[in-house]
């Protein structure tokens, strides 16, 4: 609506022919454009251009002198490791996100349950994993998982368990990587849910209690529907971030043992940067696009819906 008003204004101004350079510089749309110009340039040159450049790179041969069409992709499809990476990326992202979402929801509920006075303290403690740079905290996990000095195995040995090859065995390594990811990401869900829980009006619970709803029914019929939007957005966000994760896998296992924990980002790094095959690395990372795009579309739909509601 404002846009239209502006346009008619512009038309009127053009008709009156009083436009000088000075006037134009003072005009709202010109000022606004100049204020957003750095942002536009940044996005155009460092995000949009490289994204398309990746498409171009993916069609070149290893020395980047010859156009090879889709043969990089054909090559990937024939490699077993590639399918392993696809499988692992999906398992990694989906499992981690589900656990983060559920755990975050449970923790948020417990924090919300206790008297308001103490909530700040608990919230503060529980968010620490999210605050520490993941590269740093993963080092701590690496040390906790150390094959010979693992503090976990030391503790478990008292219960007659172990030693567990945390990063040495394919299945355990996958478990470890997902565990660390949950540790880093669950607090984020907790914080988002907690904010959403606080926004549910107390009267709704009182009304539900008067209607005879028990604890579980209150969650199912009041809390969850009220939080549906925030749950959806947070989950999709997390799905993107988890799917594109690099730090944790790189530091904890570097993709090993025998590529059994590689995901798209780490494998692309291994091939593109460490293996100096930039076109093939670009091809690998491009496989992240479809799932990211789907998640992005859903997020955008939700964000717009929220925008329309308010």
């Amino acid at each position: 609506m404002a846009d239209v008003a502006l346009q008619s204004n512009r038309a009127a101004q053009a008709a009156r022919k009083r436009g000088s350079l000075h006037r134009m510089l003072k005009r709202k749309s010109t000022v606004a454009f100049l204020m957003t110009l750095p942002l536009i340039l940044l996005i155009a040159t460092l995000v949009i251009y490289p994204a398309f450049y990746a498409l171009h790179l993916a069609t070149l041969n290893k020395s980047m002198q010859r156009f090879v069409g889709l043969s990089n992709f054909e090559f990937l499809f024939r490699r077993e490791t590639f399918w392993l990476v696809v499988k692992q990326s999906c398992i990694f992202a989906i499992t981690a996100v589900i656990f983060k979402a559920v755990l975050g929801f449970i923790i948020a509920h417990f924090v919300h349950n206790i008297p308001a006075k103490g909530q700040r303290k608990w919230r503060g403690m529980l968010l620490v994993p999210w605050v520490i740079p993941p590269a740093m905290s993963t080092l701590a996990w690496l040390w906790l998982f150390d094959p010979s000095y693992s503090a976990f195995n030391y503790t478990l040995s008292f219960f007659g368990i172990g030693p567990i090859p945390w990063t040495g065995d394919a299945m355990w390594a996958r478990f470890s990587v997902i565990l660390v990811n949950i540790w880093v990401g669950a607090p984020f869900f907790m914080i988002m849910y907690l904010a959403a829980l606080k926004s549910v009006p107390e009267q709704l619970y009182e009304a539900a209690a008067i209607d005879g709803a028990n604890w579980w029914q209150r969650i199912w019929y009041v809390t969850l529907p009220m939080m549906r939007n925030i749950i959806a957005i947070t989950t999709l966000f997390s799905l993107i971030v988890t799917f594109a994760n690099f730090d944790i896998v790189r530091i904890l296992t570097a993709g090993g043992p025998l590529d059994h924990t590689h995901i798209f980002a780490t494998w692309a790094f291994r091939i593109g940067i460490e293996g100096s095959d930039i076109p093939l690395g670009a091809s690998v990372s491009l496989f992240m696009v479809p799932i990211l795009a789907v998640a992005a579309i859903f997020i955008l739909r939700d964000v717009n819906k929220r925008g329309n509601e308010s």
Partner: protein, 303 residues
């Protein structure tokens, strides 16, 4: 009247729920029980960092109880804080983060103001674009960016790869979209009448931004600054790809590439380094927790 209000402020759950007070007590006990478990889960790695950082190499390799420090020593801290190399990493990280925060705020605050208030042709599309950009992970772009900068180096002779300042160009791609997005949210929550009052008072758009919007949305500015700082401080992939010489490295990469030498893990020093690397964000978080959390939730809730 006064006594009634005081009663209300005090924990009146018991009064409110009457017969349900027994249930509530149990619910509370369970809540605390699980919160303690989750807190242990959350704090084990950082606490273990601290424990290990206080041990000598001898104690670490002696395989005594790893959860206890028998002979606390500060030798790891002394060793790192007197090492020029480590101080160099810290310095690089600090410089990069401060510059990136400055660049980010200079780009995103005016842009957010324009997008939130000065509706112009294409502004809605651009706002959506900013949000989408925020969703593009760095792991998608590092390979083409690496090649781009290599090509630029070949063409112009400006060597960007393996220089710490290349990070000043790269990090804003991660910080600017999100900061712009949350600033749009903060600016949009300012009543429209406030800028109209400023316009009638004779303020230009720039003056409205600097003298009204920035002071009023100051909590948002702090939240965005914290976000930009923590992202630049924690970023691992870009410095790993773009810098290799030890004098150009930032903290996370520096610790991982220099303290891990082949198979020899000096865990005491690594944990000390990790703890020192985690310290700046943790300190900021400790003092500005509310702003930190506001920024975190603003991104998704202020859509």
């Amino acid at each position: 009247m006064a006594t009634v209000t005081i009663d209300k402020a005090a924990p009146t759950r018991k009064v409110k729920y009457g017969s349900m007070s027994r249930d509530r007590t149990w619910a509370l006990r369970w809540s605390y029980f699980f919160l303690v478990i989750f807190a242990i889960f959350s704090l084990t790695p950082p606490i273990y960092m601290l424990i290990t950082s206080l041990k000598s190499s001898a104690e670490i390799s002696a395989a005594t109880n790893p959860w206890w420090v028998f002979h606390p020593t500060l030798e790891n801290y002394v060793g790192l804080l007197t090492s020029n190399q480590f101080l160099r990493f810290f310095w690089n990280s600090a410089i990069v983060s401060i510059f990136v925060v400055t660049i980010t705020m200079l780009i995103s605050v005016p842009a957010a103001f324009a997008l939130a208030r000065m509706r112009f042709w294409g502004s809605a599309v651009l706002a959506t674009g900013v949000f989408l950009t925020y969703l593009i992970p760095e792991t998608l772009l590092f390979i083409p960016l690496f090649k781009m900068f290599a090509v630029i180096g070949d063409w112009t002779g400006i060597q960007l790869i393996n220089k710490w300042y290349v990070l000043l160009i790269l990090y804003p791609t991660l910080t600017v979209p999100f900061c712009t997005w949350i600033m749009i949210g903060y600016f949009a929550s300012i009543p429209k009448e406030l800028d109209e009052a400023a316009i009638i008072d004779g303020a230009s758009w720039i003056q409205t931004l600097t003298r009204i919007f920035i002071p009023v949305a100051f909590p948002g500015i702090i939240a965005a600054t914290i976000f930009a700082f923590t992202v630049s401080w924690a970023q691992f992939l870009y410095p790993l790809v773009f810098t290799t010489s030890t004098d150009q490295l930032v903290m996370p990469v520096g610790i991982i590439t220099t303290l891990i030498k082949g198979d020899v893990f000096n865990w005491g020093q690594i944990m000390t380094g990790a703890l020192l690397g985690a310290a700046p964000p943790l300190i900021i978080y400790a003092f500005l927790m509310d702003y930190y959390i506001a920024g975190l939730t603003a991104g998704a809730t202020k859509g």
